[in-house]
Amino acid sequence: MNALQLCLAFSSLLFAVGLAGALARSNAIIVLLGLELMLNAANINFIAFWRFSPSSAPATGVIFVLFSIAVAAAEAAVGMALVIAIYRHQKTIRLPDATDLKG
């Protein structure tokens, strides 16, 4: 296992942890944060490939991660606002209770 594979393993595990959190917890905030973790894991992959890639494309990975972080920030802001809005309407932020979109 070389360094790159180590990094990738690290990111995979982080992704799995995030996924588990997002699936297991019923609190919407934690679910959102789990998603953030998954995003972070993806970012790690980008950086890892950038760092160890043979062709060493100029800074593409870094730039992608920057954009990804920006999008994550936006997602967090909107997500948290949604959580607050849901809370205001239903007095709970438990995801299993928020099933108004049921068909």
């Binding site: 950086i47 800074a59 920057l66 972080i69 606002a81």
Partner: protein
């Protein structure tokens, strides 16, 4: 090198797992902050200084704050009040699914022939990054800017719904 990586990875994973498992929401967030800091450390390790600082600035400085606020504003929520059997079932299912995904990923990582180039990190100065951002990726940068603006406004509108709060009060 690998040792540093291992330490960082373990710290990150550990704190993340603790965050996902923890009972207390706030503690979870603090643990997550640690985990994010770990990711930043990984970026430092990989030589992506700028990204590392951005990670700290945004995740520690902003997202964790937002999460904290969300937690505090929704404190009256019946926290984890689902009946134990259901929660347990969901937890088991979650762990199984996550484990499956992890297994697949790890298997893929392990079995992929991944070549590693130099041991030296590719040098990327902030100046070069800036030129790239403003040059080849200018359009994307603009789009992200618009996205962030809209997200900010949208978040304000969503959260301020009904209550007569000033937009500025919303972090």
């Amino acid at each position: 090198m690998s040792a540093a990586l291992a330490i960082v990875a373990l710290a990150t994973l550990g704190s993340a797992a603790a965050a996902m498992l923890g009972r207390s929401l706030l503690r979870s967030i603090f643990m997550l902050a640690v985990s994010w800091a770990g990711v930043a450390a990984f970026y430092m390790w990989a030589g992506a200084q700028f990204v590392a600082f951005a990670q700290v600035l945004i995740y520690l400085g902003a997202i964790s704050m937002v999460a904290l606020f969300a937690v505090l504003l929704t404190r009256q929520s019946r926290d984890e009040a689902s009946p134990p059997p259901a929660a347990l079932r969901r937890a088991i299912l979650a762990v199984v699914a996550a484990a499956g995904v992890a297994a697949v990923l790890l298997w893929a990582v392990a079995h992929s022939p991944l070549a590693v180039s130099g041991s030296l990190a590719p040098a990327t100065s902030v100046r070069q990054l800036g030129f790239d951002l403003m040059g080849r990726h200018a359009a994307a940068l603009l789009v992200v800017g618009v996205l962030l603006t809209i997200a900010l406004l949208g978040a304000v509108v969503l959260a301020a719904d009904g209550a007569q709060e000033r937009p500025g009060d919303e972090p």
